[in-house]
Amino acid sequence: MTLPFLGMAQDQPSKSQSDAFEVYGNCNMCKSRIEKAALNVNGVKYASWDIPSGNLKLIYNARKIHIDSVQAAVAVSGHDTRDFKADSLVYNELPFCCQYVRKGEKAKDGQMTKH
């Protein structure tokens, strides 16, 4: 049984589509927030975010949703993703230890990083 990867042509979208993208975040609290945001999207079955690599693994029903809707939901919670950026207002409301180095920016003095 062959199953498609990102961006490849496919016969029929899978009900258990496996995919992944990078999400920016620091810690266990971020992990809970990111995974919760992803799981709250109707159609996402499984979400697991790995702290060191920032990789968010997903299994979702590709017939119901597109992966971008999951990226958007994660970004809404305050975390930059591979293709989406979080709203700065939401980012600034995150607990201090969660304020990760934003996509495309450099670390600032006193800023927390992955832990």
Binding site: M1, T2, L3, F5, L6, M8, S16, S18, D19, A20, M29, S32, E35, K36, L39, V44, K45, Y46, A47, S48, D50, I51, P52, S53, N55, K57, I59, V101, A107, D109, M112, T113, K114, H115
Partner: protein
């Protein structure tokens, strides 16, 4: 570890390809030396195919059809992307992040050896192998001395066997399992914990209160599950030697072989011996038994990550001999005579088990598991002129299916269990046979809101040839007030059949006559035992003057609907009868844990017990059960030293009437001290020295009528404090 292999499965490729996996080793430079790096994240860029390195820095990753870019990432090091163009073994050297670069702050926290969880729905405490190293010795029964939740009692004056208790109730009411297969029960109820050497254990999960329905209906007040070391992650070659000043020697040898990337096997050999006669209280009876044990474990582990299969095959064999009683007793001369009182307990055991698990690599939240276990326990023993032989054969089978409903916030487990136990007992001059058979199915639903609330509701239906058909419900709730405050609540019922002789074997080492309601019935006229358990607990984490600390409160109540009352109240007799009235155990535990410094930990606990039941002679507090207990432990861990000290205070207890105290006694409270120092000159070698019961506190005159062991008042069963006295020991561990 098992978890690592599951992670491996979750990330395996879906594609069945002719291309072999890529493998390699990841290292970093420390001074002049290259060292392996464990836990490095390796994945094909932009895909879900990934793995992590093991403790030797090795990894193996299936190929990807989409990319040849392999990413290596690990906190504190520069992330690297390699372009893989051949199938040669990959050698990767990780470069530490530049110290000038403030990108990474590495905060490392040594994992606490006893993890209380803020996240788990059930009240489960995980004890790691680090904690087991703190215990003086040597087998599972002796591994709980630094754990505040488990009370360790002295079974009797002769065997040295320790009895384990949780929330006020002793081991027959706890389910003691090994890798989720019920293990210490029936014939092995009393000695079973001493049949697992401490070095074999990878971790333990201790559940207070009614546990999950998945493991059966027998856990009435709690569960202790041990995970043994797995072949894939076992030490290549490990040696442990132990010797105590009062004549106890132990040897552990572990080896393992990886026969292929998928198949590994290990062999653990354990030998122990007590050959010195100790009689410090000069009562002419041995304080500690003479004993010999050999114990072998052979495990096979097969993992096929691409297909999603994991399988284990285990075989254990054990022979144990103990000689107890009079110092001058010689089995060859005095067995079956009244010259000297002596006893021998000869046990042989065989345990075999098989496990097969399948996780669909595409669907990591769905899995199916099958377990089959068989054990044979053969014990031949005599105590003076009283014989007790038991042969217990058991079969256990289980099928488990795990999945989700809609998403991972709603998980469920469902499955079937089968159990068969055949008992063949010789008690004094009578033979008794019986068979217990049960078939059951269960369903457990777990909800995790990912916010404050999570809970599980499980129900079982079993049909047992003696208990009949019955339903066992169990419910758990967890509410997280905040990230550092968690409340838990649990309620559940449990049942078991009583094995009166094997669970109360100490009665044979006395002259107590045995009274049962109906000797001609195969169950002696005793009804099955049934109870309800209610539990409430709060864990609150906080910083006390910048020291991370936590406060825990556990409240539990076990109420018996039916119980087989073990009545020691009349001296010279032991009476078993069905409960008429009430029997309950209320317990309160208040615990305080604090990390005084990054390498110094303090644990304090106060426990209050109110265990009462209605005997035929009226309502009384359970004998040999203290109302108050206190525990304190201080531990220091650095890379070269480990120091550990424990103080255990046991309050006053009621002792029922015996030949020398016709009105019973109220014992004095006492405290016991254990201490251990370990020196680690190199990461592969450790030396340790310590003392158990360092203050040498002993129960005075533990044996009643020791001068007349064949008379009617002889009794070795009413023991509440150590008989052995202080044990000073040395040992070493070498990991080749």
């Amino acid at each position: 570890m098992y978890l690592k292999s599951l992670v491996f499965l979750c990330m395996a490729s879906w594609m069945v390809s002719a291309q072999q996996s890529f493998s390699g080793i990841v290292r970093y430079q420390e001074g002049q030396v290259l060292r392996p790096l464990e836990g490095v994240n390796i994945y094909w860029s932009g895909t879900t195919i990934g793995t992590t390195t093991n403790e030797e820095g090795h990894f193996s990753i299936p190929p990807s059809e989409d990319t040849n870019q392999l990413v290596f990432s690990y906190i504190g090091f520069e992330t690297d992307t390699l372009i893989i163009q051949s199938d040669e073994v990959i050698h990767q050297l990780m470069r530490p992040k530049n110290e000038d670069d403030l990108d990474e702050v590495v905060v490392s926290k040594r994992r606490k050896s006893v993890q209380k969880s803020y996240f788990e729905t059930q009240n489960i405490v995980t004890v790691s192998s680090d904690e087991l190293l703190k215990a003086a010795c040597c087998n599972l029964a002796e591994s709980f001395e630094t754990n505040p939740s488990i009370d360790v009692n002295f079974n009797d004056a002769l065997t040295g066997v320790k009895q384990v208790q949780m929330i006020g109730l002793a081991s027959p009411y706890l389910m003691i399992s090994e890798e989720n297969i019920p293990m210490v029960r029936g014939a092995s109820q009393v000695y079973g914990l001493s049949f697992t050497p401490g070095t074999w254990v990878e971790s333990m999960q201790i559940t207070k209160g009614a546990g999950s329905v998945v493991n059966g209906f027998e856990s009435m007040t709690g569960q202790i599950n041990t995970e043994l070391k797995k072949p894939l992650t076992s030490e290549k070659l490990f040696l442990n030697l132990f010797r105590s000043l009062n004549g106890r020697s132990e040897l552990n040898l572990h080896t393992k072989t990886d026969l292929s990337p998928k198949l590994s096997t290990n062999l653990f050999v354990h030998l122990n011996q007590r050959s010195q006669k100790n009689d410090r209280n000069n009562d002419d009876f041995l304080d500690t038994p003479l004993s010999d044990q050999w114990n072998v474990l052979n495990r096979w582990q097969y993992i096929d990550a691409q297909k999603g299969f994991v399988s284990f095959l285990n075989l254990r064999l054990m022979g144990d001999q103990k000689q107890l009683g009079s110092v001058d007793f010689d089995p060859d001369l005095h067995k079956n005579t009244t010259d000297f009182w002596g006893s021998e307990i000869i046990t042989n055991r065989l345990d075999a088990s098989f496990k097969l698990g399948y996780v669909n690599p595409m669907i990591p939240y769905e899995s199916i598991g099958f377990q089959l276990a068989h054990s044979r326990h053969d014990q031949d023993s005599y105590f003076g002129l009283r014989t007790y032989d038991i042969n217990h054969q058991s079969w256990y089978g289980s099928l488990l299916f795990n999945s989700i409903i809609n998403n991972t916030k709603h998980k469920f487990k469902t499955g079937l269990n089968l159990a068969y136990d055949a008992y063949d007992e010789q008690v004094l001059t009578d033979s008794y046979n019986r068979i217990d058979r049960s078939v059951g199915g269960y369903f457990e639903y777990t909800y995790d809101s990912l916010e404050k609330l999570s809970g599980s509701l499980g129900v079982r239906y079993d049909h047992h040839n003696q208990l009949g058909g019955f339903v066992t419900p169990r419910m758990h709730l967890r509410y997280k007030f905040s990230d550092l405050t968690t409340l838990r609540f649990s309620v559940g019922s449990g049942r078991k059949t009583a094995n009166v002789f094997s669970e109360n074997q100490k009665l044979f080492a006395s002259s107590r006559t045995i009274e049962l309601p109906n000797v001609s019935d195969s169950r002696f006229g005793l009804l099955p035992e049934r109870s309800w358990n209610y539990g409430f607990s709060v864990v609150k984490g906080f910083d006390l003057w910048k020291m991370p600390s936590s406060l825990t409160l556990d409240l539990f109540r076990t109420e018996f609907v039916n119980q087989v009352v073990v009545d020691w109240e009349t001296p010279n007799a032991i009476r078993f009868y069905n409960l008429e009235g009430d029997s309950f155990a209320n317990s309160l535990q208040l615990g305080f844990d604090s990390e005084l410094a990054s390498d110094l930990n303090l644990r304090l606990a106060y426990k209050y017990y109110d265990v009462q039941l209605d005997y035929e002679s009226g309502r009384k507090q359970k004998p040999l059960q203290p109302e108050h207990r206190f525990f304190a432990n201080l531990g220091y861990v650095s890379s070269k030293w480990r120091l550990d000290g424990t103080y255990q205070y046991t309050g006053s207890m009621r002792v029922p009437a015996t030949g020398d105290h016709p009105n019973g006694q109220q014992t004095q409270s006492f405290g016991l001290i254990n201490a251990q120092i370990t020196y680690i000159p190199t990461p592969k070698l450790e030396f340790y020295v310590g003392a158990e019961n360092a203050a040498d506190f002993r129960q005075v005159d533990p044996i009643v009528s020791v001068d007349d062991p064949f008379g009617t008042s002889f009794d070795t069963t009413q023991v509440y404090a150590p008989v052995e006295g202080s044990m000073t020991y040395v040992g070493m561990r070498y990991n080749f």
